[in-house]
Amino acid sequence: MVPLNYYLILSAIVFIIGVVGVLIRRNLIIVLMSIELMLNAVNLTFIAFSRFLGSMEGQVVVFFVMAVAAAEAVIGLAIIISVFRHRETLDPQEMQLLKW
């Protein structure tokens, strides 16, 4: 049986990789995908805890995370499409009109 810590370390690594993606990539679609990666890293933690604590709650939470992630992806992609239509770019650093 693989110990719980292994899963936690693995998901921490994946999570950090996702963070890096969100931080440095200049393509909104990849940023969004990195967010999905982070969500999945957290999901892995939930499932691992669910298994090792013998509680279904972790799996239920993952179920909800998936629902929310689906909604988030739909809205995020719709926003990307409408932004791309207006500005012909996917670079988040060029979308900075919303400031002082």
Binding site: P3, L10, L23, M33, I47, A69, A70, V74
Partner: protein
């Protein structure tokens, strides 16, 4: 090292590799395919952790629907202008992420190694057990989730519709 640990490490290495590809590959489609691979690997992890229902749902929802949507949008927009990375920002981001790792890893790796405290039953993780918690204890969040999805559908249509 028993077989399950070996399988774990093989899958873990693959997962980390595909995750790295998602973030560092230039081509958006390659990144998306790498993400699909990562999601499938995570689904396999779910199944090995006695969550087959969630695992299959992961394949259906994430790999089967969300990522197709991503690919669809990528093809729809077909953004071929290459990114112009900024070195300083890359360095900063990497340093911050490494710092996060340095702080996070000690937390998750310490503490006693739990080794299967609960003998997982056949029932655990099955559709019945998931449904039981979903429709009793979590029925309100479940209904709210359905509303969230409805709102997302409407919002997606409104946002992506070309205004006339």
């Amino acid at each position: 090292m028993n077989p399950s640990t070996v399988i774990f490490f093989v899958l873990a290495v693959l997962l980390v590799l595909s995750s790295l590809m998602v973030v560092f590959v230039r081509n958006v489609v390659h990144a998306a395919v790498a993400l699909v691979a990562a999601l499938l690997l995570i689904a396999i992890f779910f199944i090995t952790l006695q969550a087959p229902m969630v695992g299959v749902l992961q394949v259906m929802v994430y790999a089967g629907a969300i990522m197709v949507l991503f690919l669809f949008v990528i093809m729809f927009l077909n953004p071929m202008t290459p990114e112009r990375p900024r070195r300083a920002w890359w360095a900063l981001g990497t340093i911050l992420a490494l710092l996060l790792g340095a702080l996070l890893l000690p937390i998750v790796s310490k503490g006693e190694l739990l080794a299967d405290p609960v003998a997982a039953t056949e029932f655990f993780g099955s559709p019945e057990s998931l449904a039981k918690s979903l429709f009793t204890e979590f029925v309100l969040p479940f209904e709210i989730a359905s509303i969230v999805l409805l709102v997302a559908i409407v919002g997606g249509v409104v946002l992506a519709k070309r205004e006339r």
